[in-house]
């Protein structure tokens, strides 16, 4: 038996050890918004290295899309958990004890904790200015609105929305809310930094080696070539292990200490490091009496917390995902990425699609009810097919929504009875533009080594790339070795996100193997996908490659208590060509289970900016017992088809499928999660609408 995951032999970033290494702890702000008046660390013993805001004067600011962050905040803290002082000591215990000896004096400032309130006139400003980052993660036109909390405004202007609504026989309008959520990867964020002859080396679980290296180069004002990032396998990531997280603090402490420093976050600190964007979406949708969609208007308020991180990108993706995979001639979208005094929000499996699909697909069923139409028929009538134009202007190809929808409907016996049943269709973009490159090296022993920056977080990417390489090279799998991603050895890759790696790196690999066969020793290949959207009109290429699927759910509701059971959950995902069947199933099932948590109970509670359930007792994750009685999925393949990424496709359609199943019983809940309390309130509203409940 050799699999290191089964024998326990696998080593994560938290397991990296060096002689003389120190352990870090971080003193964090107890206030959501405050001025730092004084930091007194004089009582800390000399054996402990202390990093205060005074130490970071020479360091550059950073941020993958907006340059709004410094290693420690210089004057103001902006959320509960903002790091103020970092220490490093020979043991973690000594580091923790040193934190108790540090005195920080604050002057509290008014805060804002809701994105809709944060855009209102007179709201406290979280940042005075919005500087667009030079990191290549700022890959699109970012439109900060100076003097406001809006760090990016993405718009779609397709046709004439006002004119469209005039043609509508039926119009529905609704507002939806989705809360913050925690990625809760089982392995916390961990990194080890050391300086060797002026070069910075960092071992860290990261999905974004090159973006991280760019930001660190800016912070320390050294060339990127002076920084080496190595990413060991991660114990889950789900978007949380992206861009700068613990690495800058580890590197600053290591520089000051002259020794390697390890940072491993506590579980509580995970909630203070990166979460999923809470969002409010207002959707207005119009159709002709026959169900033909004519106009759609969407406003998204996307709460990015105290620092933008990749929030602008999330808001953009949420903006076009909220239109849905439909032919709609007149579309108007404003998606606002908004600062608040909450912990930063960033990439989370689905990247804005979950929030968008919840609002969009719930609205489809509300419209169907008002039209008196079957929700499946309404979707089939309007859903995009090959050759259709999306609201971005791009022409769709390789489109499979109809077969996914039919499979979903068939699984829950939609044709026989629609009570307690719900459907959802989903379209999700892939990172566009982006670039993947890879090197394949022939070894003396007849084997091959693959060098690329695709990170392993449990999705099985290393295995899939090895499988593809072995097939292309015509050798046994055992002959192909995958080198741990290392920026000193691997060529550039945009990042391991958006379900792009098997597709993009797989295509680069084909080129690399072709090159190797020509040259004999070393082969290089790359894959570039071009495109992008105009941020002011939303026109262009949103995605060169679409992730597509559908979901179906069946529920049973206890009308007295509002509790309900998901009896059946199913997703149909278009996979094109599956490289690793068990791995693909695991990704799909894992997405569905995470979607189930989002639907039923996951929600970060804040009280005046203080996280109120930041532990795994008060914040529940799905366990084995939460699996529905019937829990199945299909991955559709086509002869000769391209690989379609599927690392997250099955998450976003789960909440609306279940929400629509409740709606089929007249239970209309607009806000996630679908708690018994909300369901009961919706039952009461239904009774009142029917003429009062006894």
């Amino acid at each position: 038996m050799s699999n290191p995951r089964v024998t326990g032999a696998i080593r994560y970033a938290q397991d990296v050890e060096f002689e003389g290494m120190l352990h870090a702890s971080i003193l964090r702000s107890p206030y959501p918004h405050a001025r730092i008046l004084r930091v007194d660390a004089s009582a800390v013993p000399d054996s402990v290295v202390v990093l205060t805001p005074d130490d970071i004067g020479d360091f550059g600011s950073y941020g993958c899309q907006i340059q709004d962050q410094t290693v420690l905040p210089r004057e103001r803290v902006r959320f509960v958990g903002d790091p103020v002082v970092a220490v490093a000591a020979p043991t973690k215990r000594e580091a923790d004890e040193a934190l108790n000896l540090i005195d920080v004096e604050y002057e509290r400032l008014p805060g804002v904790f809701d994105a809709v309130e944060a855009v209102a006139e007179g709201a406290p400003l979280v940042h005075e200015h919005h500087a667009i980052s030079e990191n290549d993660a700022a890959y699109f036109g970012i439109r900060p609105q100076e003097g406001t909390n809006i760090c990016h405004r993405f718009r779609i202007r397709h046709g004439d929305m006002e004119e469209g609504f005039k043609q509508a026989d039926v119009v529905v309008e609704e507002t939806y809310r989705t809360p913050g959520a925690q990625h809760a990867a089982m392995e916390p964020h961990a990194s080890v930094a050391r300086w060797q002859d002026g070069r910075l080396e960092i071992w860290t679980g990261t999905q974004t080696l090159f973006n991280l290296r760019m930001d660190l180069a800016g912070i320390f004002n050294i060339p990127e070539s002076q920084i080496r990032i190595i990413s060991p396998p991660m114990g889950g990531a789900f978007g949380a292990k992206t861009f700068v997280r613990t690495e800058a603090i580890a590197a600053c402490l290591a520089q000051k200490a002259g020794r390697p420093v390890k940072v491993v976050l506590s579980r509580y600190e995970e909630w203070l490091t990166l979460n999923r964007h809470p969002a409010t979406l207002q959707v207005k949708l119009g159709a002709r009496a026959d169900g033909t969609l004519v106009a759609k208007r969407v406003v998204c308020w996307v709460d990015t917390g105290a620092y933008a991180d990749c929030g602008p990108g999330v808001a953009q993706k949420m903006g076009y995902a909220a239109v849905g995979p439909y032919r709609i001639p007149q579309v108007w979208v404003d998606s606002l990425c908004v600062y608040t005094n909450l912990p930063p929000n960033g990439a989370f499996r689905g990247y804005g699609a979950m929030q968008a699909v919840w609002a969009s697909e719930r609205t489809m069923d509300v419209l169907a009810a008002k039209l008196g139409m079957d929700p499946l028929e309404l979707r089939l009538k309007n859903v995009l097919v090959d050759g259709d134009q999306f609201c971005t202007g791009e022409i769709m190809h390789d489109v499979h929504f109809i077969e996914c929808l039919h499979a979903a409907a068939g699984t829950i016996g939609w044709a026989d009875n629609k009570q307690g049943k719900g459907l959802c269709v989903l379209m999700k973009g892939m990172q566009t533009p982006s670039r993947a490159s890879i090197v394949v090296e022939a070894n003396d022993d007849g084997g091959y080594t693959v060098h690329c920056a695709t990170a392993e977080m449990g999705q099985g990417a290393w295995y899939s790339i090895r499988l593809m390489a072995a097939e292309l090279l015509g050798v046994e799998l055992e002959k192909v070795h995958y080198a741990e991603p290392d920026t000193d050895l691997a060529p550039y890759d945009t990042r391991t996100t958006s379900s792009r790696s098997t597709y993009m790196m797989g295509r680069a690999l084909v080129e690399a193997v072709r090159d190797l066969k020509r040259k004999g020793e070393l082969g290089y290949g790359e894959c570039v996908n071009k495109g992008g959207l105009d941020p002011d009109t939303g026109q262009g290429i949103a995605s060169t490659h679409w992730h597509q699927g559908a979901a179906a759910a069946e529920v049973r509701v206890d009308e007295e208590t509002g509790k309900f059971q998901v009896l059946k959950l199913y997703t149909s995902i278009y996979a094109g060509h599956v490289v690793n069947r068990p791995g693909a199933e695991l990704q799909n099932e894992g997405s569905m289970i995470m979607g189930l948590g989002t639907t039923l109970f996951e929600e970060i509670a804040f009280e005046d900016g203080q996280p109120a359930n930041a532990n795994l007792s008060d914040y529940n994750l799905p366990a084995a017992g939460d699996l529905p009685e019937s829990f199945t999925s299909d991955l559709f393949e086509r002869e000769g088809a391209e690989v379609h990424g599927l690392g997250e496709t099955a998450l976003p359609p789960v909440p609306p499928a279940i929400g629509n199943a409740l709606y089929s019983l007249g239970i209309h809940v607009t806000d996630l999660p679908l708690s018994a309390e909300k369901v009961l309130n919706a039952i009461d509203s239904r009774q009142q609408a029917k003429g009062g409940r006894t």
Binding site: N3, T7, E585, L586, L616, A623, L627
Partner: protein, 148 residues
């Protein structure tokens, strides 16, 4: 203080603080890295070790309480234990972080209940969380291990 216990069959003496948890001691003193911190409050099962055969959350188990006990971690299984073999054959993991805890819990459970139903497996694994969401295949692996 010194603590004496048997780890994976070997009598061992370790140095620990009186208020330290077993998790820290196993990782630091004995380099047993399959025992992993996640929740810190005994909810998730990633830090599971068998203490006298019982699955225990070592993140909330004071190290001195292990004095004289027999401790088993995944490093102490052969690598070819039927539960390990079943997990590998059924692909019952993704990131692998929770896997050792799952395997130990399943091993202990199968000794009590050698022919469990799906429902019984779900209950038995209730204290072992997998954020990757591999439960379908984990349940299948436990059933396979039960069949031998």
């Amino acid at each position: 203080m010194k603590i004496h216990f048997k780890v994976n069959g070997t009598p061992t003496e370790v140095e620990a603080q009186a208020d330290e948890m077993l998790l820290e001691v196993l990782r630091r003193e004995l380099d047993l890295r399959s025992v992993r911190a996640t929740c810190g409050i005994g909810i998730c099962g990633a830090c599971t070790a068998l203490v006298d055969g019982e699955p225990i959350s070592t993140c909330i188990f004071l190290a001195p309480l292990a004095e004289g006990c027999e401790i088993t971690t995944v490093e102490g299984l052969s690598g070819d234990h039927p539960v390990q073999r079943a997990f590998e054959e059924e692909h019952a993991f993704q990131c692998g972080y929770c896997t050792p805890g799952m395997i130990l819990t399943a091993r202990s459970f199968l000794e009590e209940n050698p022919a469990p139903s799906d429902e019984e497996i779900k209950v038995a694994l209730g204290g072992n969380l997998c954020r990757c969401g591999c439960y379908v295949k984990i349940i299948r692996a436990v059933k396979k291990a039960a069949r031998g």
